[in-house]
């Protein structure tokens, strides 16, 4: 908690274009000010079931305006895109609860607010936002660290929260943390023992990088979908039409809440809009892997070339 604000709770933060008032300290969020858009509250007596849930799945129930999460450590209710209430069980570890609230909790909140959360790393590149999406193990964190080393800033390491503003897709800065595996950290001179693990059951660590965090909302320029295959060079292909829409849909963070929240019509309309507004590039990274810096530089070069058109 060395990065927590010194004042007593509730704390006021700013992330994803929202002012968030919280009774729990989140060192991974920037300090905010002004009227709260979202409240994160410690609660008791939360319901164990939702009345008439429209959809039930693994550890969640959803109905219009509400998602209830039941995990080993909490009951958490996300309502109206405005309120996240969490009831801690006796065995709750506040670090694990923070991760839950920032991933599953914020995921539900984004959908309730009509924000499109893309699962990827949002970077500030040449005055715009470029999002890199990849399955686990492809090398996204290494790419992110290389881009940071080259002086670029990140908006969020894990989710690009896309919002429609003046008819354009905009991404706001999210959390100022990276979630890194020990091997990646060591490659960049970071000591795992000096950082907090993100969760009791995960081997990644939280690395807070305030100075590398972007401080303004940016237009979404394009999305790179990183994949790996046996080839000796980086291959790029721009996706179009239906293929693009389908590829984008697969990047949606916590899509499992959509049907239960009763927002499918709005969600898919937004997806068609987003697909019409943004470029999606499939980038096949070579295997065996070349120097990671080389991949970062080639992607930057590709991005700069596409910016000219």
């Amino acid at each position: 908690m060395n990065n927590a604000p010194t004042a007593n709770p509730p704390y006021l933060y700013r992330a994803y274009g929202l002012n968030i008032e919280s009774e729990i300290a989140f060192p991974e969020m920037e300090i905010g000010q002004g009227q709260a858009d979202v409240m994160i509250q410690l609660a008791s007596g939360l319901p164990r079931e939702l009345p008439e849930p429209a959809r039930c799945g693994w550890r969640f129930q959803a109905r219009p305006s509400q998602v209830l999460l039941t995990t080993t450590q909490t009951y958490t209710l996300i309502s109206d895109g405005k309120r996240i209430q969490t009831e801690l069980k006796a065995e709750a570890n506040i670090r694990d609860v923070r991760l839950l609230l920032l991933s599953w909790g914020m995921g539900a909140l984004f959908h309730q607010r009509g924000i499109l959360p893309l699962h990827g790393c949002a970077m500030e590149v040449d005055g715009g936002c470029v999002v890199f999406c990849a399955a686990s193990g492809v090398g996204k964190s290494t790419l992110t660290m290389n881009l940071l080393r080259l002086g670029y800033h990140f908006l969020d390491d894990n989710v690009a929260a896309v919002q429609k503003e003046n008819g354009q897709p905009i991404v706001h800065p999210g959390l100022k943390q990276l979630k890194l595996l020990p091997d990646t950290m060591k490659n960049f001179g970071l000591s795992p023992e000096k950082h907090e693990m993100i969760h009791s059951n995960e081997s990644k660590y939280t690395v807070i990088l305030s100075e590398n965090h972007a401080n303004r909302a940016l237009s979404l320029r394009r999305i790179y979908l990183l994949k790996r295959s046996r080839s000796n060079r980086l291959q790029m292909r721009e996706l179009k039409g239906q293929e693009k829409a389908e590829a984008l849909q697969k990047q949606i963070f916590h899509a499992r809440y959509i049907q239960g929240l009763g927002i499918a019509r709005e969600h898919y309309s937004q997806m068609l809009w987003l697909a019409g507004k943004t470029q999606v590039i499939e980038a096949i990274l070579p295997d065996p892997r070349p120097q990671p810096e080389e991949i970062a530089l080639q992607l930057l070069e590709d991005n700069a070339r596409r910016n000219k058109f």
Binding site: K240, Q242, A245, Q249, A255, A264, Y268, M271, L272, G276
Partner: protein
């Protein structure tokens, strides 16, 4: 498509929504989340059916837009309607 009479009413499935992406008319089912795209003529039929209409009226509009006679139009439109039916994009009553 012999089941389609001239006065058959063609209606869009309200569970399908469409948008243009890169010049392609892309549809998505809000129930299944499945995306598909329509070719130019099927897309035009979808546009015309913004309000439900008869098969006869649909063909009357299309023969004005395409260089085709009424018999050929009815035959070909039947094929496109079949495609839209298979995709569950429209219903016929």
């Amino acid at each position: 498509m012999s089941a389609i009479a001239n006065n058959s009413i063609l209606t869009r499935n309200p569970e399908m929504i469409a948008g243009e992406i890169d010049g392609q008319l892309v549809m998505v089912s809000i129930e299944s989340g499945k995306y598909l795209h329509l070719n130019k003529v099927a897309g035009r039929i979808w546009e015309i059916l913004e309000k439900p209409d008869t098969f006869e009226n649909l063909c009357a509009i299309l023969i004005q837009e395409y260089d085709i006679n009424i018999e050929s139009c009815q035959l070909e439109v039947g094929g496109f309607l079949q495609e839209l039916l298979e995709q569950n994009a429209i219903s016929i009553a």
